[in-house]
């Protein structure tokens, strides 16, 4: 039975091509691998190989023919002695089903469905009233959270530069080498790309790594492994395997360390589906969110801040204190304006709220805590009450978290707004070294106050 040779698709985008040249003629015997023809695609001239043995019967498309559509029969291949003067009926040939060769875009139907889910706002307190509290720095809270989780699950281990014998460049892992030994507290060479890949592989293999980046700036060397390997594998494997792990370290500007050591990655990572992104403000946030992060079955980006490490906050004394992701905290209740912030941005938001109160402006301050998932409900409920919103973050203005929140508020609460949403951000410049310039590049409390006055028309 003769087989129809069809015009092949020879590139991902080819829909038609030119049959430039036949290298065989009718009656030739061919075997698998022999070059039959040269075909010009949109990219190059390609050789078209035989995949079956047989005799070239009729050539249906002459050489030099342009615009031959993919899947058009171009020749017949048959066995010896077979009559191939006329094409076989289509039913006898290996024809593709009705799916077009280059799939037309699927009907948009469900696809435009919003990825944002607006669950009702969860306003429950993080800990029961009357819980005993103790004062603790963010640094101590992170250390305590990691120690508790490592005691709880022996598959949790920590890997990074200077975390063991040096006791941590920022002392977050202080004492952990003594407590857990070198099997579980692993000092690495200065090799972010490599050790991040190894940690992601270990997570595929069933462990739960905590990767410390000395600072998030250095994770740029490893960002391919974070996004292409850790974030996407669950999806690409159809749910068979993923990377339950935490990437953590200090993020954003410290003081006078210049452009390469002073960048906020919040918006970068918050864009990526498959990651969850956490940016704590207080010690209680740091503790409760870190414990949740280590237990989560997904890759978590945990953005800390050097300036906050040494600040003290009240932390509940509980056996097992965790904070769920996607639950913002209203740090200050107010009625005139909503200030939304996270991480170090919260220090400006809180100072601004205090000063604004002196001027008789009541600001509600929302601490987002996680940037993926984002607690949209709490923001929208607040904006519907105050009718005004200012977002505060340290990162650059273009494509910022504030941009995204502004767009979401506009879509979901346009009729409630009495003023445009203002995004307070760091300046659109690499971080300068000079003290005076650096001060101007960073966000200030005064800028937040000015923005609030603008949206409240004061």
């Amino acid at each position: 039975m003769a087989i129809e040779l069809l015009m092949p698709a020879l590139s991902p985008t080819m829909e038609e091509g030119t049959l430039a040249k036949w290298l065989v003629k009718e009656g030739d015997t061919v075997k698998s691998g022999d070059i039959l023809a040269e075909i010009e695609t949109d990219k190059a001239t390609m050789e078209f190989e035989a995949t079956d043995e047989g005799i070239v019967g009729k050539i249906l498309i002459a050489e030099g023919t342009e615009g031959v559509k993919v899947n058009t029969p171009i020749a017949l291949i048959g066995e010896e002695g077979e009559d191939m003067s006329a094409p076989e009926p289509a039913a006898a040939t290996e024809k593709p089903d009705d799916t077009p060769a280059v799939a037309a875009p699927a009907a948009p139907a469900v696809v435009s469905e919003s990825a944002i889910e607006f669950a009702p706002s969860d306003t429950s307190p993080d800990w029961p009233a009357g819980t005993e509290m103790k004062s603790m720095t963010v640094r101590e809270a992170l250390n305590e959270a990691m120690c508790e989780e490592m005691e709880r699950d022996e598959n949790v281990f920590m890997i990074g530069e200077e975390i063991g014998e040096y006791q941590g460049a920022y002392k977050i892992s202080q004492g952990m080498l003594d407590k857990f030994g070198e099997k579980r507290i692993i000092d690495t060479p200065i090799t972010e790309h490599g050790f991040t890949g190894i940690a992601v592989g270990a997570a595929f293999g069933g462990l739960r790594p905590i990767v410390e980046f000395m600072t998030w700036n250095f994770a740029m060397q490893a960002i391919d492994q974070i996004i292409n390997s850790a974030a996407k594998t669950l999806y690409m494997s159809g749910g068979q395997m993923g990377a339950p792990m935490v990437f953590r370290g200090t993020n954003g500007a410290a003081a006078r360390v210049g452009a390469q050591h002073s960048q906020d990655y919040a918006a970068w990572y918050a864009m990526v589906p498959g990651l969850k992104v956490v940016m704590p403000y207080s010690a209680a946030d740091a503790k409760g969110l870190m414990k949740t992060a280590i237990r989560d079955n997904n890759p978590i980006i945990f953005l800390e801040n050097e300036i906050l490490y040494g600040r003290s906050f009240e932390v509940p004394v509980m056996d097992d204190f965790t904070i769920p992701f996607g639950k913002a905290k209203i740090e200050v209740e107010g009625s005139d304006v909503t200030i939304v912030s996270f991480g170090i941005g919260m220090t400006y938001a809180m100072q601004a709220a205090e000063k604004l109160a002196e001027d008789g402006i009541s600001a509600e301050v929302i601490n987002l805590r996680t940037l993926r998932p984002i607690d949209y409900a709490t923001i929208l409920e607040s904006v519907k009450k105050t009718n005004r919103c200012v977002t505060v973050e340290e990162g650059w203005p273009v494509g910022s978290i504030g941009n995204h929140l502004g767009a979401t508020i506009m879509q979901e609460a346009f009729d409630y707004l009495d003023a445009p949403v203002i995004n307070c951000t760091g300046k659109d410049v690499p971080m300068p070294y000079a003290a005076n310039l650096e001060k101007h590049a960073l966000l200030t409390t005064d800028e937040v106050i000015a923005a609030v006055k603008k949206v409240t028309y004061r």
Binding site: L6, A9, L10, S11, P12, M14, S32, G33, I35, K43, A44, T45, M46, E47, E49, T51, V70, N71, E94, P96, A101, V102, V110, V111, A115, K183, I186, T188, P189, T191, H193, G194, F195, G197, I198, G201, A202, A203, F204, G205, G206, L207, D224, Q225, N228, S229, T233, L234, Y235, M236, S237, G238, G239, Q240, M241, G242, R295, D296, N297, N298
Partner: protein, 337 residues
């Protein structure tokens, strides 16, 4: 070091030879079919065929045991078939259908099987190598004697993360076999034009990783080398490098205009070194099998491949709901408290 031929007279049984013949032939016929389906527009995007390189995975897999892991780049169909994944599921992933290993969401370059310990299928050149060392790390951490095969090509051998990984694999004595599948062309760039050292395995010497060159067109030579490397890794001696010299007959991907090498070069390799022909003639001259018996195997394999192609055509496209699944893993209530 010169390319090592199998030193002794091959000490293999007829059954073993037939097994290799069958496995290599399955890969070849599967890939030819994939090429056809691509030409028909049923497979989209990028599709990198393994034709010519069959002896590499079949020989390496011959020395593995349950629990061993493997991870490779985007030229991955052969690895999946050689570790026992179902041709139907692989082909249906190539056509982007629900019955594929990744439910149609991964495609040719991104396929996985937790059951067969196949960890992909990675599209970023070289990224699978630290991941492979990480898999080996997880086995060492758990205290078992499993080994991981981390495959990469001569092209990936110039990525920096490979050497970062070599360093840590030695420091931490990770049970990982780095398999350099040297098919001599990184896409369209020959090894001569891309690589400062003629022998890639020697790059491990700077880190103290033992290694050797293997004739990748000879499945028995590959198997022998694999056994040696596996024994080294399993006994806790740390990593090992096998530079397996091989050749791909087809283009880098389906849209390769093949201007960087001559047709004669490809033809010569096919005629003189073909891995399947080598075993075939060994089977026939050693009187381990008759022409008719081999023909029967050919027929059986063709049927398996045709079945996989039929399955891949008939399996429905994934439901639109799949767009939104597998982005995040579920957390059990007790995990997050």
């Amino acid at each position: 070091m010169a390319v090592k031929k199998t030193s002794k007279k091959p000490n293999v049984s007829a059954d073993e030879l037939l097994g290799y013949y069958r496995e290599m032939l399955l890969i070849r016929r599967f890939e030819e079919k994939a090429g056809q389906l691509y030409g028909m527009g049923l497979i989209g995007g990028f599709c990198h065929l393994y034709i010519g390189q069959e002896a590499v995975v079949v020989g390496l897999e011959a020395a593995t045991k349950e629990g061993d892991k493997r991870i490779t780049s985007y030229r991955d169909h052969g690895h999946m078939l050689a570790c026992g994944m179902d041709p139907k599921g692989v082909m249906a992933e190539l056509t982007g259908r629900e019955g594929g290993y990744s439910k149609g969401k991964g495609g040719s370059m991104h396929m996985f099987s937790a059951e067969k310990h196949f960890y992909g299928g990675h599209g970023i050149v070289g990224a699978q190598v630290p991941l492979g060392a990480g898999l080996a790390f997880s086995d060492k951490y758990k205290g078992n004697d499993n080994v991981t095969f981390a495959y990469f090509g001569d092209g990936a051998a110039n990525q920096g993360q490979i050497y970062e990984t070599f360093n840590m694999a030695v420091l931490w004595a990770l049970p990982v076999i780095f398999v350099i599948e040297n098919n001599q062309y990184a896409m369209g760039t020959s090894q001569k034009r891309s690589t400062s050292t003629p022998d890639l395995y020697t790059r491990g010497e700077a880190f103290g990783i033992p290694g050797e060159i293997v004739d990748g067109m000879n499945v028995l030579a590959v198997k022998e080398a694999s056994e040696k490397a596996v024994a080294h890794c399993r006994s806790g001696e740390g990593p090992y490098i096998l530079e397996v010299k091989t050749y791909r007959y087809r283009g880098h991907s389906m849209s390769d205009p093949a201007k960087y090498r001559t047709r004669e070069e490809v033809q010569k390799m096919r005629e003189e070194r073909d891995p399947i022909e080598q075993i075939r003639s060994m089977l026939l001259t050693g009187k381990h099998a008759t022409e008719d018996e081999l023909k029967a195997i050919d027929k059986e394999i063709k049927a398996t491949v045709n079945e996989s192609a039929e399955f891949a055509k008939e399996s429905p496209e994934p439901h639109l709901d799949e767009l939104w699944t597998d982005i995040y893993a579920e957390n059990l209530p007790q995990e997050t408290a």
